[in-house]
Amino acid sequence: MNSLPADRRRRKYFLSNVYFLFLAVPVIIFLVFVAYMVFYLFRNGINVISWEFITRPPERGMTAGGILPCIVGTLYVTLVSLIFSIPIGVFAAIYLAEYAPNNLLTRMIRSAVRSLAGIPSIVYGLFGVALFVRGVHLGLSVLASGLTLGLMNLPWIIATAEEALSSIPGSFREGALAVGATKWEAIRHNVLPFAFPGILTGILLALARTMGETAPILFTGVTYFTRELPRSPLQKFMALPYHLFALATQHDQLMKARPIAFGTAAVLLILVLMFDGVAFLLRMRIATANKWQV
């Protein structure tokens, strides 16, 4: 057992601990930053948040009142973007993962999707102006912003859904085909249900990102102030991230608007965390039903 001399053994264990520290320290640094950020936001924002704050429009030049139009606006554009990007994204992913032949064109499409996911959101914003605001005359509106955000989401949803589909073992498909299922039946019954948690995670992460994006909505429909909630998808709207930006940097009485800015940031963060939480819970429930993963 004690083939190594005592000093060599001590050295081995010492080194092992050093490596552990090397790997643990970055995690700890990262956690400290995130925890501090969340703590700082909530400490400054939590006093502002009240029932009135989330159910009333802004008042007195946005130094008082609530942020209801921003919450509604953000949820509205996010909804529009997902209605657009979920079906297209998931179908495209099914095509790429299950049907597309493995040739140069497919590989090019696949890498194009990956590159599109990395394009800065401001570029999507400008593209949205050209295509949706001007091109198809949607004007500055919820619809134009939602579609722009949807376009930005699309590569994310395609990439994560394709990943989820490819992670399902080929034997599930073979087993179904061998009893005489058609390709679609095999996918429908023995691939999609098991890829669902992965697809859902991609969608919810895209959703969380969409809610926080400012650049794509900046030129396509968001507005500094409107008292009314958007009734039709062709109206302008207020949104949380833009409201935060405006209050923090554009307001003429910055100090007076500051508490509301913190409150807005906290609400945005809570919304995002809520959806992440839902994603987490859904995954847990589905993963325990799909035993093959463990």
Partner: protein
């Protein structure tokens, strides 16, 4: 002609430029067990997967020659691949149950072919599980996940899944290679039971297994059919030197 007979005529198969099966002609009798044995990589699994056209899934495959089942060419354009795979069931090397309940695993094929529903569906599931000698072990937990079964049980479940759509022919691709000796013995017993009703083709690299379960035995090497005969004949008095060497353990 007797139902369930498989006639392979001058079959050649290429994956890309790789000539995997060379001019194979073989006549597999109905209601018997035919073993295809040979060293690994000889093309025996590929040959098996021609019979239910599972090779269709691999791109860049080229096939010449014919396979007749009940006198009809399975490669002809009139052949419905779905119908073919319903008649020619397959069990794979690694048990591949679906990650669903035991019941749903069996019901899947019955449902997609709309063979039964309601009470009759339940009866058919039970019948398939009984045929696979699995009913007694799982009857109280039909709604448990199939992954909770042991490897041997999973493989019998896969066999039941294939029996549930009432095939005429069953293809077994090294079905015992992932199983322990006890489960293997149970599976072999089952194969022998089933041959009265089905044409069974089993691929194996285990020659003792071929000797134990099969009536006819084909020996394939480097994509060529070296020998095909009654199993006793192949094992006691092979025609070809290469078969003798293989059985004698000179390579494998």
């Amino acid at each position: 002609m007797e139902k369930g007979r498989i006639e392979i005529q001058q079959l050649n198969l290429w994956f890309g430029t790789n000539h995997v099966l060379r001019d194979i002609s073989l006549s597999i009798p109905a209601r018997s067990v035919t073993a295809i044995m040979g060293p690994s990589g000889c093309g025996k699994s590929t040959l098996l997967r021609c019979i239910n056209r599972m090779n269709d899934l691999i791109s860049d495959t080229r096939i010449t020659g014919r396979i007749l089942i009940d006198g009809r060419d399975i490669f002809s354009p009139e052949t419905d691949v779905i119908e073919l795979r319903k008649r020619v069931g397959m069990v794979f090397q690694k048990p591949n149950p679906f990650p669903k309940s035991i019941f749903e695993n069996i019901a899947f094929g019955i449902r997609i072919h709309r063979l039964a529903h309601g009470r009759e569906l339940k009866e058919r599931v039970e019948r398939a599980l009984r045929q696979a000698n699995l009913w007694e072990e799982v009857k109280d937990r039909l709604h448990d996940n199939a992954f909770s079964l042991s490897g041997g049980q999973q493989q019998r479940l896969c066999l039941a899944r294939c029996l549930a759509v009432e095939p005429e022919i069953i293809l077994l691709d090294e079905p015992a290679s992932a199983l322990d000796p006890h489960s293997t013995a149970r599976l072999e017993e089952l194969i022998i039971q089933l041959k009265n009703e089905y044409t069974i083709v089993i691929v194996t690299h285990n020659m003792q297994q071929a000797a134990r379960v099969s009536d006819y035995c084909a020996f394939v090497m480097l994509g060529e059919l070296v020998e095909f005969n009654r199993t006793e004949k192949v094992f006691t008095n092979p025609n070809d030197r290469r078969t003798e060497d293989f059985l004698g353990g000179k390579f494998g």
